[in-house]
Structures are given as C-alpha cells and as structure tokens.
C-alpha cells in the first residue's frame, strides 16, 4: 500500500519521515503546480472551494505517481471540509482510478488519530502510537516556530533572499530530527541559523496581521506566497493562524500555550457571539487582538465562496469601520492573478506606512 495525503502547508514534512520509519510506504503528492490546480479545477464542482480543488489535484498527481491509497481527514463541521473526502473519492472513481480511501472521521479526537496511525503503520501498540503522534505534533510546532522566525527576519534582511534560503535549510534540519531528543537539540541551532542573517537592526517595519481560512493562510501555493511577497515589500507578517495551534487546541501537546479558539471566542464577544465554523471566530477575535496590540493592519485571506470566512469578513469590515482600523479581505481562487495580488498588497502596505507616519488621518 502506497499511501498519499494531500498537502497542507508544511504538514507533510512533519509526518512523512516519521511514518516511513514505522513502515508506512508514504508517497507524498508532488509539490503543487499550475498543473495540479488545473487538474483539480477541471474535475471539481463549480463552486467548490479552492482547498478542495488543490487537494483533488494533489490526489490525482500522487495516484499517477504510483500511490494506491489516500488518507483524507473528514469531520462533521458546518464547513464543507468534512465532506471533501466523499466528493473527491466519487470524482476519482468516476475518472477510473483504483485506490483505497480512508478518512478519519473525527480528526478532533485523539483516539481516532491514534487508531488511524495504527491502521496504516507497523505500530500495533497504543502507547507507541501516542509517542509517534506527539512527535509529529512537536515537529509541526518546530516548523511553525521556524516560519515565525522567518516572518521576523525576512523584512529586515539586508541581502534579499537570504532568509528564504535559511528557512529552507531550517525545514530540512527539522525534517531530519526524527526523534524527540534530536528535535530538542535542533531548535537552538535553527534559531542560530536565523540570527546569523545580517539584518537592518534599526529598521521598524510596518506590521500586518494575517488571518483567514487556515489552508489558504498556511499553504504558499494557495496564497501565491503572500508572506514572502509582504516580506519583500519590507512588511513584517504576524500570522494569527497556525496549524500547530489548531492541533494544540485539540490535543494539548503544548500545555503552556493557551487554547487559541477559546481565547478568540472571548475576544470576539460582541461582534461574533458564536463560532460560525472554520476559523471565523479566530478571524474576528484576533482582528480585535491585533488592533489592541498595535499591529498596523489586518490582511484577511480566504477561498472564494468560503462560508465561515464570509461571515467573518463581513464582521471585520464592520470592526474596521467602527474603529478606524485597516482591514483588507482578499479572496483566492483559480482565477486570481499575481499582478492583482501584488498591486493590492503594495497599496495596502503604502497605506499602512503613511498612516503610521501620520500623513493620513486615522479615521
């Protein structure tokens, strides 16, 4: 059985090597390209959201490369994600692909995740399952940590592109850390790697909080590398949505980090009084948090037709009007063009810059 799982940001880096050690024949999909997207778009329902289409393209390319089993997380949320696997399987079967499909119907439940791991690998022992699963979670947290360092160093770098090279190397180093001991030893060296990037120490970049639907936020292919683009415009990114936080809210592997969903729920009170699925409550709550913390503006990104984020985008638009706080919502789908994104980002960062310098009024 050659198993494939659709990509989501750096997640596949977190699990591929570890699962291979335990006898899972992993076949990660090739990195998404325009071809992936085109394949996905061609066979998806018209108004399916962008993550669905990219996932489907991933699956098709992986199956073409020899995979014969797909693992797709499911769920029962108000968001469409929980139903992805069913529709994707139907489309792939109709196209004549032969494969085994498994879905974890409760990705929120630890025992289900452990069962999934035991199901696909040589691991039969429950406690080994926990050990491996938590290692994967810690690796994900390490990758997110490296990405956060990237956000800090990128706008300040003196030699353009150096931070990108360091991030790539950091991801490689974390990928090789395949045990708890190695992982703990790795983190200081990752930090050192970033510290060695020559930066403009006196420079105070404009800061932009990035919020929105988690897939579009963490997958550079889906958002046309928006974080890199902002970094190149010398804007510091403060990301409000992390995969490791999402996992931590469910599996509590970082006991000292607060539950971000619960925190956002508290913050959002008055604007959004009940979570409307997806990351809606995080988007609303953290927009308010970013404003309080003095982040210069919020960039809200989501797939076209995303239901929870449409609710959130309507509400943060009101927050923006009520409080005179810059918020820009952008929708992503297969038609979005690079030039469009760059133009809008430039205009937004110019606006924030001038606003900070006091050359335009705050209201």
């Amino acid at each position: 059985m050659r198993l494939t799982v659709p990509h989501m940001g750096l997640l596949s880096t977190a699990y591929t090597r570890v699962l291979r050690q335990y006898g899972v024949d992993m076949q990660p999909p090739p990195a998404a390209t325009v071809r992936t997207l085109n394949l996905g778009v061609k066979h998806s329902p018209e108004f399916a959201c962008l993550p669905f289409k990219i996932n489907l393209g991933n699956m098709m390319e992986a199956l073409d490369n020899g995979a014969d089993a797909i693992l797709m997380p499911g769920g029962y949320g108000p968001c469409r994600f929980g139903y992805y696997g069913i529709i994707q399987e139907q489309i792939l079967r109709e196209l004549g692909y032969q494969f085994r499909m498994s879905t974890t119907d409760n990705p929120d439940r630890l025992s289900d995740m452990i069962d999934t791991i035991r199901d696909i690998s040589r691991i039969k022992n429950r406690s080994d399952g926990y050990r491996v699963f938590f290692l994967i979670l810690m690796r994900m947290a390490a990758l997110d940590r490296a990405t956060a360092l990237y956000h800090y160093y990128k706008p300040r770098e003196i030699d353009r592109g150096e931070t990108d090279a360091v991030l790539k190397e950091a991801v490689r180093v974390i990928d090789r850390a395949d045990s708890y001991a190695k992982l703990f030893r790795t983190m200081p060296s990752v930090k050192k790697m970033f510290r060695s990037v020559p930066i403009d120490k006196g420079f105070r970049p404009v800061t932009v909080g990035i919020l929105g639907e988690i897939f579009v936020v963490i997958e550079p292919f889906a958002n046309l590398e928006i974080e890199k683009k902002l970094g190149e415009m010398r804007v510091e990114v403060r990301r409000g949505v992390w995969l490791s936080d999402w996992l931590n809210d469910r599996f509590r592997f970082r006991p000292f980090r607060r539950n971000q969903t619960a925190y956002a729920k508290k913050l959002a009170r008055g604007y959004l009084n009940y979570p409307a699925g997806g990351e809606s409550i995080e988007t609303v709550g953290k927009t308010l948090l970013f404003q309080k913390k003095g982040v210069d503006g919020v960039l809200h990104i989501m797939p076209f037709t995303c239901m929870p984020e449409l609710v959130a985008s309507t509400i943060i638009n009101r927050i923006s009007r009520d409080r005179g706080y810059p918020v820009l919502s952008m929708t992503f789908d297969e038609h979005v063009s690079e030039a469009n994104i760059i133009t809008r980002l430039e205009a937004f960062s110019d606006l924030l810059e001038r606003r900070r310098n006091g050359s335009i009024s705050r209201h």
Binding site: P45, G74, R80, G82, Y83, I86, L310, V311, T314, I315
Partner: protein, 317 residues
C-alpha cells in the same frame, strides 16, 4: 399598555419556521410584524448593505431587515445552529444575527436566541428561552411552555416541515405526483423556492407550461433512507432534505424530471449537487440544476424550463 412589536424579516428560515415563530410570540402577548414579500427594492436594499460575496438569500434577508428596522421595537433573528443532533445549519445561518448587526447601522435591539440541539433536550430549550424571557420580562416557565408548544418540534419534523398551510405558493403545488401528467419535481431550499421573487415564480411557470410541479417534503424516515444510499450522512440541515427529496424524486416512477434550484455560491449545495447528479441519479432521469443570483432574469429561467420540459415531452412521446 402597548404591546411590544417584534419584527421578523421574511427571509431564510422564516420560510420554514415563520408561522411557528409568529404563534410563539403572539402567545407571549407580542405583536408581530413581518416584512412584505420580496421585491426588487428589498433585494436592492439588501445588496446595498452587503459587503463581500455573501449569497443571494442572505442579501435578501438583509434587505428585509433593512425595510423593517425603523418600524419595530425589536428585530427577531434567531441563531439556528442545528435542528437535529450531529447536524449543522450553514455557517452563514449560524452567524446571521452577527452579520446583520455588522451590515447595518441604527438597528433596533436584536433578539437572537440560539437554537442548538444537544443531547440534553431541556438544555436546548433553556438556551433558547433564556434571552427571550429576559428581553420580554416574562417568566422562563411561560416562555418554555410556548416554545415547547410551537418551536421545539424538530424531533418529529425536520427543517421545512412546519411550513404553513396558508402559504401563498402552496396552492397548486402538488405534494405528490399526479398520474397521467408530466410531473416535474422541484427540489431546493425553502427560502429560495418559496420566495416568489427569487425563484422567479417557477412553480407557476411550470404549471403554465402544462406540467405539474411537485414539491416533495421528506420526513425523518425518508431522510434516513436517502442517507443510507450515500457514503456519508450529509451533516447540513436542509442540505440533507434536498438530498432526500432528490432521492425520492429519482425513485418515484411517476416523476418525469427533476429541477434542483440553488443559489449560485451556495456552499453545501455545491457538494450535494454533485452527490445528487452522480450518485443518486442512477437511472439517468432528466435532471437540471438552476443556480440563482441577483443577476438572474425571469426569461433566462423560463427559457431553460421550456427547453427542459420540451425535451422530456419528446423523450416520453
């Protein structure tokens, strides 16, 4: 003492539960004002208030709230999270009171009790009743009793079953197929189908073309039966009923064609539509899906319906 005037926008879940809401508030001694039927001005008003790419029914709803807001004491926008266990409404319905507040200024107070079916039935009612009782300064027991009598009936009837008998569209829309006529089953969400302006009066037009429009309203058992045919329980209230209605229509020998009406960017329907077309329509019955948005014209819908009905007539002749 003047009675409190409760305003209910004629949009979204009003088309399923509106009559029950009216009875509920009248029993509590309130006056109820419902916005008029949707027209071009109401829709325009809704679009004017909307930011972003919200769907047609939500825009319409906001239009109704906008025309109501100045003539009432309180706007009733319940937060329906679910009407059944392990199900959810669409996220836009869950966030509806907050979205309305965000889109409009100078709103009267919004009464937004939450309806969320949980394991513990009393808790569901308590959650719904508490804000209402507080707002109206009534005893929770009295409100609970009214709620039990009028609203908390989802156990026996799924979403859409409370539809009032005197609904203007009900006359002439069959609840089952008529032998010897061309029967066209129309499936879709009540808030689209039963809004004459949004659905371009398509029931009426189908009748004008000489066919018999049928609206099937699946009950619990029929929904369960349909869910057994597909690989996974559809977890959207309403989405589930659309799928079940489709299943019934495909199964029923007397139904000649199926029209699925949905709004253009509807999230759940983008998936259930695929399920209906590929999984449920095993016998290849004539099937057409119509997606509506604010740019849809009557003529566009009519042309497609004419073509669809002509095609069926040719095939069966």
């Amino acid at each position: 003492m003047r009675h409190l005037n409760i305003g209910i926008p004629r949009g979204l879940l009003f088309h399923s539960y509106g009559e029950a809401w009216k009875l509920f508030f009248r029993e509590l001694g309130c006056e109820v004002t419902v916005s008029p039927e949707t027209n071009a001005d109401i829709l325009k008003e809704g679009i004017r208030h909307t930011v972003g790419d919200l769907c047609l029914p939500v825009k319409t709803f906001l239009g109704h709230a906008a025309v109501l807001k100045d003539n009432i004491d309180v706007l009733f926008i319940p937060r329906y999270v679910s009407v059944e266990q392990e199900s959810y409404m669409c996220p836009k319905m869950i966030g509806l009171p907050d979205v309305t507040r965000a889109c409009m200024v100078n709103l009267p107070p919004v009464l937004d009790p939450m309806f969320h079916v949980k394991l513990n039935k009393e808790q569901t009612v308590r959650e719904f009743v508490k804000p209402v009782a507080k707002f109206l300064s009534l005893s929770p027991a009295a409100v609970s009793a009214a709620c039990e009598r009028h609203l908390n009936r989802h156990e026996e009837a799924p979403a859409g079953q409370h539809r009032q008998a005197e609904h203007p569209l009900n006359e002439g829309v069959g609840r089952s197929a008529v032998p010897g006529r061309m029967n066209i089953s129309v499936i879709g969400r009540p808030y689209l189908l039963f809004d004459r302006h949004l659905s371009k009066n398509l029931f009426h037009f189908i009748k004008k073309l000489g066919a018999n429009p049928v609206y099937l309203n699946p009950d619990r058992a029929e929904i369960r039966e349909a869910m057994a045919v597909i690989p996974k329980w559809v977890y959207w209230d309403m989405g589930k009923e659309v799928v079940a209605a489709a299943h019934m229509s495909f199964k029923d020998e007397r139904i000649d064609g199926v029209v699925n009406v949905c709004s253009a960017t509807c999230g759940p329907d983008s998936f259930t539509g695929d399920l209906i077309r590929k999984r449920l329509n095993q016998r290849n019955k004539p099937y057409m899906s119509l997606s509506l948005d604010e740019h849809t014209s009557d003529v566009g819908i009519q042309t497609r319906l004419e073509a669809f009905i002509d095609m069926i007539a040719k095939v069966t002749a």
